[in-house]
Amino acid sequence: MHQKFLSLVCISLLLPFALLAQEPEKPKSQQPMGGVSTGAATTYTSRRTVGITDPSAPVVFEDVTDKTSIAAFRHRSGEAAKDYIFDTPSGGVAIFDYDNDGRPDIYLVNGSTLAALRGKDKAPRAALYRNLGNWKFEDVTDKAGVANERWGMSVAVGDYNNDGRPDMFVGNFGVSRLYRNNGDGTFTDVAEKAGVARKGWSTGASWGDYDGDGRLDLFVPGYVQIDLNNLPPNPSDVGKSGAVGANYCQFRGVPVMCGPRGLPGEGDTLYHQKPDGTFEDVSVKAGVNDPEKYYGFSSAFVHVDDDKLLDLIVVNDSTPKQLYINKGNGTFEEIGYPSGVALNENGREQAGMGLAVGDYDNDGRIDFHITNFSDDSNVLYHNDGDNNFTDVTFQTGLGEVSIPFLGWGTSFVDYDNDGWLDLFVVNGHVYPAADAHQWGTSYAQQALLFRNLKGKFERVGAPPGNALANAWPGRGLAVGDLDGDGKLDLVINNLDAKPVVLRNVAASSGHWLGLKLVGDVSKKSPRDAIGAIAYLTTGNVRQRQDVFSGAIFCSQNDMTLHFGLGAATKVDKLEIKWPDGSVESFDVPSIDKIVTITQGKGN
């Protein structure tokens, strides 16, 4: 008995040391994915971002740019050498019906040049194209007064004054603009008067009523602080006498423009709209000012936890993403790390660029797709509920294929109207040197279209000679039904090039329903219904679509909600959760058309 007791004591004594002496687990090699350019610097014998075609692939989109007046637009941002970081990320594009004639119009943001900023050259102009129907567009930029003629980055649409006419915030590298829609085909820049003439480098903004007062507020991410009188070293100076820091900015050993890492970041700004229609900067008070000064690129006010308060996601380049949960008292709690959204599944920071918002698996919760740098995959975060997200990129089929691409605009789009959100991604490198080296990538890149197979994705191939076989230096992307045929079309804004208008000509297309939502301002819902959620049920599939502003990459989709219905010939149930939190159900007597639904007029 005593001996047994002694043995027990001895074992207890030795056990901790035995545990301490345990051999570590056999090492495993790291997975070839991760953060900002963290992939292995492999040398490739071919480029995997251009010329990839599939003769058996279906024709989904037709490039109709040259059949329209939009072909005359030329984007320009800096010089071809891309010596500086501000030369590379412009610009956004918006599809929105500015004149309320039922046909969505197109606004294309333009960049600028150092010479123009210094008054030595004419500034490039943004352009507004009025949709005349039948793929005819009229350039109404001058009449509308929206040429911007500053270094444009982004556009976010929102009816901030609840007058039924959509307004535009144009984020600039420089002073931003707020174009108020006058309702007569013209706009007036009221940014100074309204208090949103943000200086610095404003990127992908988002409108949303975060405090439930029925007035839209505005969030604007900041990217990098640039002193135009003290520019970073640039690759064109390498080797020249007196060049400073030529070694500082390299990619795979090749001199390239500097940044964003190594350059000071810029904080973010939240503007709260006051009853008099002017705005106040409440960034610090609300806790969304980004004191770490991450390199902000994209944002969206969106319901993450599905209470009645809008939450906020911010996608940052080369630094963690931020997810702000609205606490309902005018402040937000940042939960990027604990939610799983800040990093990828391996705990790596990524070069976040664009942001797609949508419920890809029809489970009723909003998910996020985010584009990243080349040598790294894009990332898809599945919303598990309770503010938890899981990186499901590779298991859903979106990982490996995206690695050689440098992604920008990304949007969920049900191109075949089967009731499952597909995905479109616009790509293009930031370094022109990509074409001179065997990096497996290229400066201009093909776009990526993925078909959603009930929660898994497969790449839709590009038939030879088709639009998707072309490579573009893509940046902004916007989705909308430009010809009213019930199939979603796309517009891409390309860096230093003409834009691309893609007409959806998919042969296999299901039924559809478009919803234009109108909020009741007297019930403290913004009139354009930003923050509303529509739940549509056909058979055993319940889809969710949110009215939101911004995201994609510095761009704006048409806010008409578009539901693919597949083979279903009727809608079994339509519920709208309005921005004020009230829920109404509506009868849908017929489909294959756009229906306007006004708050308070339902069942």
Partner: protein, 168 residues
């Protein structure tokens, strides 16, 4: 019986001494102000000083006053070949071991190689030691760099890979 009691007392005393020694060297992971107080805002390595990514820094205290500090730095100022092997610093004010390999007090650079090893370098970039990493598949929310308690000391994580740091 008396003999047996004497024997038991001796073992109990041994147990207490051993337990006390383990407790003395048990690592405490620093957080908040304690962490920012010890982490340097920049680090010199191979000809340059680079800013620390404070969000990706970690520190542990062994016993009463022995510290191990680590952080990732912004390596954008370095040439590609340096960036390929150097990601951050490791500072220790007393001798430690990394997966059992001894490392004297000092300041070092380190990197994680793709073949699953952590390499520690002196400030000139010369390799001093290389230890295999362990992949922690159970870690739900990995970070670019963090420390966590381990039976043998602390785990220094890079993503899901870690090495164990112990006081010597």
């Amino acid at each position: 019986m008396k003999h047996l009691l004497k024997h038991f007392s001796l073992i109990a005393a041994l147990l207490l001494v051993a337990g006390s020694a383990v407790a003395q060297e048990r690592a405490a992971i620093l957080t908040g102000a304690e962490l920012t107080r010890v982490v340097p805002t920049g680090f010199y390595f191979q000809g340059l000083s680079a800013p620390t990514q404070m969000r990706n820094s970690a520190a542990a205290r062994f016993g009463k006053d022995r510290y191990v500090i680590s952080g990732l730095v912004d390596t954008s100022g370095y040439s590609a070949d340096v960036r390929a092997k150097y990601v951050g610093f490791l500072i220790t004010d007393s001798a430690i071991s990394l997966n059992g390999e001894s490392l004297p007090a000092g300041a070092y650079g380190f990197g994680f190689a793709t073949e699953g090893k952590m390499t520690v370098m002196d400030l000139s970039g010369k390799d001093l030691l290389s230890v295999p990493v362990t992949n922690d598949k159970t870690l739900r929310r990995p970070r670019p760099l963090m420390m966590a308690a381990d039976a043998g000391g602390v785990r220094l994580y890079s993503g899901k890979d870690y090495v164990v740091i112990a006081a010597q």
